[in-house]
Symmetry: C2
Subunit: 379 residues, 2 copies
């Protein structure tokens, strides 16, 4: 089946935009992505929108840009929402329905948004069953269990935050762009042991958008030189049969999506030059090193110590600054990750460029559960 290409992609700088609506932020990202490939909204044949907080976000974004009557699909999938919208766009091109589609992910993370959603609706069993009502509690647990099993230290978890904050100093689109030394990370306000406030992802507003094209159309349009080939798109939910298996909910779903993606691409972790993974908490990044096969089980702590996952290392992880410093606007995160990897594959990442990057992987995981993994390659 013919390949699908990312031909235009961009994001707004993640931050706090109290004066702008969700759809204004989405429209900002869409206009940047269209501009990135020299297209206009009339070139777009369908829109796939990822946003949790609002309804009909895709259509309302078009009201600001230009309503051309195109099909619009709105998707949600917890923290994998943006990646799911991207995947639905990719699927539609694979199906031969369209040659050029737009995918957008957006979120405004007003304080308490998640809690409000939960109060207004039915209880959310994925968390309720395990007796931990909040994400920080879940990622405390998985970190402590990793420490118990493998001897991972609190300092190793904290180093993830030091690394990602360091990376973000080179990323103008990151919410924070400030070094955070180890003592500062360890000494910050404790949120849920061992994750301090600097080891938790940042609640920010954000939007990211991508234009996808069929190979045929990309060739005709002469945009293959800066294009990025989607080598694999995998989505998994959790095969989660027992209570009290939070380790499984975080880990097995990631392993399953990664295995599907590697299989689809015919590639393995050794073929990657960079990874953007779901560091919603510092503890999570260590686990996902292992879940994505970047090291063997139990060696995540040693991998962060080695410096291999830092910019300049063997397999840089979260060069964007990650969710810990760039920020984590739920619906936007999946496409923002794809933006980061694409920017490196295009050789346009400036001071944070991973030299010689040809293949990269993105990973997002939402509890509940949904994990999306994409593998991207320089065209």
């Amino acid at each position: 089946m013919a390949d699908v290409y990312v031909v235009g992609i961009d994001m707004i700088r993640f931050g706090r935009y109290p004066e702008r609506t969700v759809v204004q932020l989405a429209a900002d990202a869409v206009l940047l992505a269209l501009d990135d490939c020299g297209l206009g909204i009339t070139d777009i044949q369908a829109l796939f929108s990822g946003n949790i907080g609002e309804t009909m976000t895709g259509q309302r974004t078009l009201q600001l840009i230009g309503q051309t009557g195109i099909p619009v699909v709105n998707c949600t999938n917890a923290c994998a929402t943006g990646a799911t919208a991207f995947r639905e766009g990719w699927t539609a091109i694979k199906a031969g329905l369209f040659d050029t589609v737009l995918c957008v992910g957006v979120e405004k993370m007003a304080p308490g948004m998640i809690v409000k959603k939960k109060v207004g609706n039915e209880p959310f069993p994925a968390e309720g069953l395990i007796g931990s009502e909040t994400m920080p509690a879940v990622f405390s647990m998985v970190g402590l269990e990793h420490a118990r099993k493998y001897g991972t230290t609190i300092e190793q978890f904290a180093k993830v935050s030091v690394k990602n904050h360091h990376h973000s100093t080179f990323n103008p689109k990151s919410m924070y762009q400030k070094e955070t030394p180890l003592e500062e990370v360890l000494g910050a306000e404790m949120i849920a042991y061992p994750n301090t406030k600097l080891m938790c992802s940042v609640n920010v507003d954000g939007a990211a958008a991508a234009v996808l094209m069929s190979e045929k159309r990309a060739r005709e349009a002469g945009v293959l030189d800066r294009a990025v080939r989607v080598r694999a798109s995998a989505l998994a939910s959790d095969a989660w049969t027992e209570r009290n298996q939070v380790m499984q909910d975080v880990n097995t779903v990631s392993r399953q999506a990664a295995a599907s993606a590697y299989d689809m691409a015919g590639l393995g972790p050794q073929d990657l030059q960079l990874v953007e993974l779901h560091d919603c908490f510092a503890t999570a990044e260590i686990l996902h090193y292992e879940n994505l096969g970047l090291c063997r089980d139990g060696e995540g702590g040693r991998l962060i110590d080695s410096g291999d996952t830092s910019l300049g290392g063997r397999i840089p992880v979260n060069v964007s600054g990650g969710l810990l410093s760039k920020g984590h606007p739920l619906g936007a995160t999946g496409i923002a990750n794809i933006y980061e990897v694409s920017t490196h594959l295009r050789g346009e990442a400036g001071r944070r460029q991973v030299e010689g990057a040809r293949i990269g992987l993105t990973h997002v995981v939402g509890l509940g559960s949904a994990c999306a993994v994409h593998i991207l390659e320089k065209a």
Copy 2:
């Protein structure tokens, strides 16, 4: 490209289920649909879920049935939510990603749900801009404008409700199953002139589910004898550039989706033996006769008078009882319409069977906007 088939489809009886959760209702429909084709949840490779009111509905439905780790996509698209989930499943098979997928649509219409959503979020410009805050006001306007332009009478609008309530007396899955004579319809509580309470769709709880298969897999599984071929799946949003164009928002989006569907199927309205269309209000059905090409513009009133759209007529419309009597649980409606048409194409509609039905069309339209049209054919 290879065809996609509906091989199993069913719905719960629409009604009020205060003691059951959204995901329990969804699971009920899924088990009925699996049973309809003799499959189990382990045969399903991906799930596409349509629901507006909750989050992660697809995954939580699997928690009740069996978590097999399959990809789950949650979609929303106003009243086209269920049809959008169906279309995303169809697209994924077309793309060659899967051979067997499950699509489910579900909603609990607790009183005030829609209003709650609006209060909790940003204003909804599609309604706000035109100065009418409610759906009844919108469908009052479009009816009165049709009357002004074409001389359509209040009795003609009311006859839609008489017809659909009559049809529903033959449908055991309909919320109401009771005749409503013309005087009763006209004399009911006025909601928004000219639509009385009996001319408004019923707020009910409901769920419907469908199993789709690739042609290859359906042939291998030996399920083609009761299968229904998806001849076309079209989705459109509104090309809506001015304020105060509610007629356009209801009409143009329907015309565009219908044109796409007829084009994809290589068929026209003359090829249809039955239609399930979006009678969210009695006034809407008359407009959609014209939007779907069942009669010429301005002749909708005469079409209802002729009896052609009644069971036994030339082109029966809403034989299920429609949204007016069967009920309208937003996320479920799109797949419930497909269930109705499929049941006739299979010759299994009992006392409401449209004799000789070979090809049927389903239509849903959500303001904001999203219109989905599917054309289905006996395999």
